[in-house]
Symmetry: C2
Subunit: 343 residues, 2 copies
């Protein structure tokens, strides 16, 4: 195939200067309708496609907003990307996505790569970064938004919530329902910082209620899938330890745990309560439905977009928007009325 035609060739075909062609493609410019139509025809004829790269270089506006997420396969993050993407599209901007695989070193590499595309802003997931990554973000000269977390030392704006606090609310709910022997089922280590925060919130809340947080089940390396949730639940049950309720790092893990109970003939919530995190559609459809926390994943993205549009188009300085307040959704899997057992 021949290489893509440029404005120069369109200009020649239309019998005008390159500058006039350039103007024909912008809304504001002063150009006669006749000329614009003539140029449009020539462009269509040649199959001309505007080069956003060259334009971006000249006007120093790439039209990109970069975003890093741990994994594309997690529908929570996919929702955030969706919210961001949809709302930015209205202002003609495009999201440039990168995946960290829950690894902050990988995140650093990724941030460097993304900044090389000269995005107009960057949205990252989480508030924990390598020292070099922080420096890159701070020195980038563009708005930075950290999401899905509440960093103690934010780089720019924040649109997130405390995963620990959210989990504390969940423990409160379980305790209110009469549970005492509560397990936490989540990933190993601290690679998934949101997971680690939730575990910490769990432990703190248990301590606060004077309960032992000795049932911390490691389900493997993040992200924890349904299968790993099922395995970990199996291991917990095999251990023979007494358990009232299981707090899972996500609805996916919770669903895995739930199915393991079903396979073993345990009734949820009659024999044991199971709760998740993330408000995945799954948890609202399965039988029984799973109590969870809705972090407003899509809204996080939408809010980030709104904030950025304010910064970029209206020249406002970065302001932290109203905080995200996750909502506890009490459903069948922990419904006390159905018989949460006391120990």
């Amino acid at each position: 195939m021949a290489k893509a035609p440029t404005m120069k060739e369109v200009a020649k075909a239309a019998g005008v200067s390159v500058m006039t062609v350039s103007r024909a493609f912008r809304a504001d410019a002063s150009i006669s309708t006749a000329t614009r139509e003539k140029i449009q025809r020539a462009a269509d004829e040649l199959g001309y496609v505007f080069d956003a790269t060259a334009s971006g270089l000249r006007v120093k506006k790439s039209g990109f907003v970069a975003m890093t997420i741990p994994s594309i396969s997690n529908s929570n993050f996919a929702d955030t990307v969706g919210g961001l993407s949809e709302r930015l599209a209205a202002s003609g901007r495009q999201v440039l996505l990168g995946y960290t695989n829950y690894d902050i070193d990988e995140e650093e590499r990724l941030i460097r790569q993304l900044l090389g595309r000269r995005p107009e802003a960057i949205v990252v997931t989480g508030g924990q970064h390598t020292e070099a990554a922080r420096k890159l973000l701070q020195g980038s000269g563009i708005p930075v938004v950290e999401t899905w977390d509440l960093p103690t030392d934010p780089i720019g704006s924040v649109i997130g919530f405390s995963n620990a606090k959210a989990m504390e609310a969940m423990v409160q709910h379980l305790v209110d329902a009469g549970h005492r022997r509560i397990a936490y089922l989540g990933g190993d280590g601290n690679a998934d910082t949101r997971g680690a925060d939730r575990r910490r919130g769990f432990a703190d809340a248990m301590a606060h209620h004077g309960l032992a947080a000795d049932l911390l089940i490691d389900a493997g390396l993040p992200p924890i899938s349904m299968r790993e949730g099922a395995h970990a639940m199996g291991a917990l049950l095999d251990s023979g330890r007494t358990v009232d309720a299981v707090c899972c790092v996500s609805d996916l893990a919770a669903f895995g745990a739930l199915t393991e109970c079903q396979r073993r003939g345990l009734k949820v919530p009659d024999d044991i309560s199971i709760v998740g995190f993330g408000a995945y559609e799954l948890g609202d459809i399965c039988v029984p439905t799973i109590t969870t926390i809705d972090p407003a994943a899509r809204e996080i993205g939408a809010r980030a977009a709104d904030l950025l549009i304010k910064c970029l188009d209206e020249g406002q300085s970065e302001t932290s928007a109203a905080p995200i307040t996750p909502k506890l959704l009490i459903r069948q899997s922990s419904d006390a009325a159905k018989g949460g057992q006391k120990k």
Copy 2:
């Protein structure tokens, strides 16, 4: 914040020419170690980040591969993107993603936008496009890969499979298991072309077996979620029509249908068989596990990457790789041994 520093400033700081700085950042160039280190220091000092945009303009290699998918929230497509992304990363290329929302007009807009970023290749989902979109792709001068489908008139390469044929295999399985009154549960209309193909394959297969394909349940506009699957199943059951088995457009819809049966006290597969499509993790974990077809979503992406790397780096012309052959995974939800009923 100050604007990002350029090579010029790094050059001044290091006391060399811009060209030398440029060379310092490329592996091949002839440059002394001392100079390279000096430049590296200066660059770190200033927080210099390489501008891939400007470089791309000059060398005519953007480092982008564009891809369009119907929705980011569908884990099948997310897997394909993951496979593509991971394998392209090794060759230093980045995936630029766009979402069509199952709308070919939106796809056309998107393709135009993506081509404006001067990607080195473009991967699209499906084989149905607007006339203008076809022209854009054909005239783009870059390798084009159509995936997840087997277009009759391909634009470039194809890495896909026949959704109709795959569904025929599924019907064969159900018929073998003794089912006669088989329903199809999927989306309205033809917006989701893969869904429409599956429905067509279903109808053809039913006709081939001399069975009536009169149970075509419309579950709403694509994409069909779990909830819509559940609703549609409810409507089917409420209609009082006799049904042996239900063929769903995806595992998500199938799971929704399955839960609806559970809520109504119907046993799967004893009272009714349910099968899905897509080999989502969900279907392998839920109780009972769901019979499905594995389209090798991740492999589609990986194969596309391999093909493109051959085209771009080794100058080979576009060759269609070995075809994708979806695998029927027979699981509990249609297990004849457990008692698929004959009518």
